[in-house]
Symmetry: none
Subunit: 139 residues, 4 copies
């Protein structure tokens, strides 16, 4: 039998609040998604002005980061032409995201969930996702 650590809905809210604060700081309205360690959605927010396409992209970045236990930008590096994971980005009906902005949420060395952010540049998305993690760790 396994015992699993998993973020709860309060944790999810704290992650979104931290990310949204960073998004407002840099002036880019974002879609922000939180998934649990099984890749299943716990919470989502589209800030006013966040992109409609980014709804699915944010959810899938978070899904990838939590369920694969890897930041999406690491997949981006590993899936360049000629690299070992080339082509992984179209896996799972395109849900496996290789664009920056998806980060695992790690507690005591275990992945307990993920955060996915979309609507800005890849750098902005990653910065805002990190903002969520930082606020959560500080909280």
């Amino acid at each position: 039998m396994l015992t699993i650590k998993r973020l709860d809905s309060d944790d999810a809210r704290a992650l979104i609040a931290g990310a949204a604060a960073k998004a407002r700081e840099i002036g880019v309205p974002m879609c922000i998604a939180i998934t649990d360690e099984g890749g299943n959605l716990v919470a989502f927010e589209r800030m006013d002005g966040g992109k409609v396409t980014s709804i699915t992209i944010a959810i899938d970045k978070s899904y990838t980061a939590s369920a694969a236990k890897k930041a999406t930008h690491e997949y981006g590096a590993a899936s360049q032409p000629g690299k070992p994971a080339y082509g992984i980005g179209s896996a799972i009906g395109g849900r496996l995201m290789v664009v920056p902005g998806g980060l695992p949420v790690v507690v005591d060395g275990e992945v307990v969930g993920g955060i996915g952010v979309s609507s800005g540049t890849p750098d902005q998305d990653m910065e805002v996702a990190q903002g969520g993690l930082d606020a959560f760790a500080a909280g």
Copy 2:
């Protein structure tokens, strides 16, 4: 050119808060989804204990209620065997929900979004969705 009224992310949070309060009152943790008037997701929360299957069901109930401008239980009644809309429940890849728990959000006679709730019985889902609308109207 058309001018459209659409709920914003504060409205979405108020709807979720109202629904979650009702869910706690009846003791059933729920998935709660809010879409805008175009059927696109604005906010989502899975309360601790909400069902994983209900993630998509809540989102699709909200999508149906907002984008078809009709409560999902009305489709349930209209799509019984022998009724005119029989079979509508498998439309749009199964996204057209005919199970109770999806309600349009109406402001000044216009549909500005939708709320979808899932994890309980159909009656509980509908009661919690209505709880969201009531809190929003009172707010």
Copy 3:
């Protein structure tokens, strides 16, 4: 080798114009889709106020009527519980529509395309689709 008769884009426009005129007459803004005899979309119009869910439903009604060479309401009757085609409504990922509002376009005894209408009641959808056929036949 086969020689196929297929409606062209002028025909599609005439069908939409006829259906839209009927929709205005009965006061229900509609989504109207025209497919060719292969089930492929030729033209589509969402009138102002037509439902977002009805985009796909209108296209799939037209797809069904043209590609199956059968009105969607005939599938509705044939797929009731206990009837031979029971369950057909979830075929093709739910694209096989059994709700009224999809009619084949027939010229000289051959199906050359289809019209699909959605946003009203099933009766209204069928009436508006028939309005398209009537205007096309008269044109």
Copy 4:
């Protein structure tokens, strides 16, 4: 509550007419799709000779341009191997189009919809989409 500007069905027809005129000028029959600012289809035309594969491609180019508020060719540039958005083209089940031919429709600085064109070379698709915007702006 938000107040949104959205193109209406007359606007959509004007955009299609302008694009079709340009398509005839360069002698390439096209699929032309118009979406609203939420990414939902408003109008579509496949000119006689337009490609069947281009039905979905034109719709998805328009979806991307409107819902992501960005021309699809910009995504093409940003998603080349080694670039920050590498891999974005398989997102949303492949609906996120990075091939030229999708342009946002902007009125008074706001994205009110999108136009997507497909069947020619990428340059031709983009030229015809721009033809739609030019005719709409002149109209």
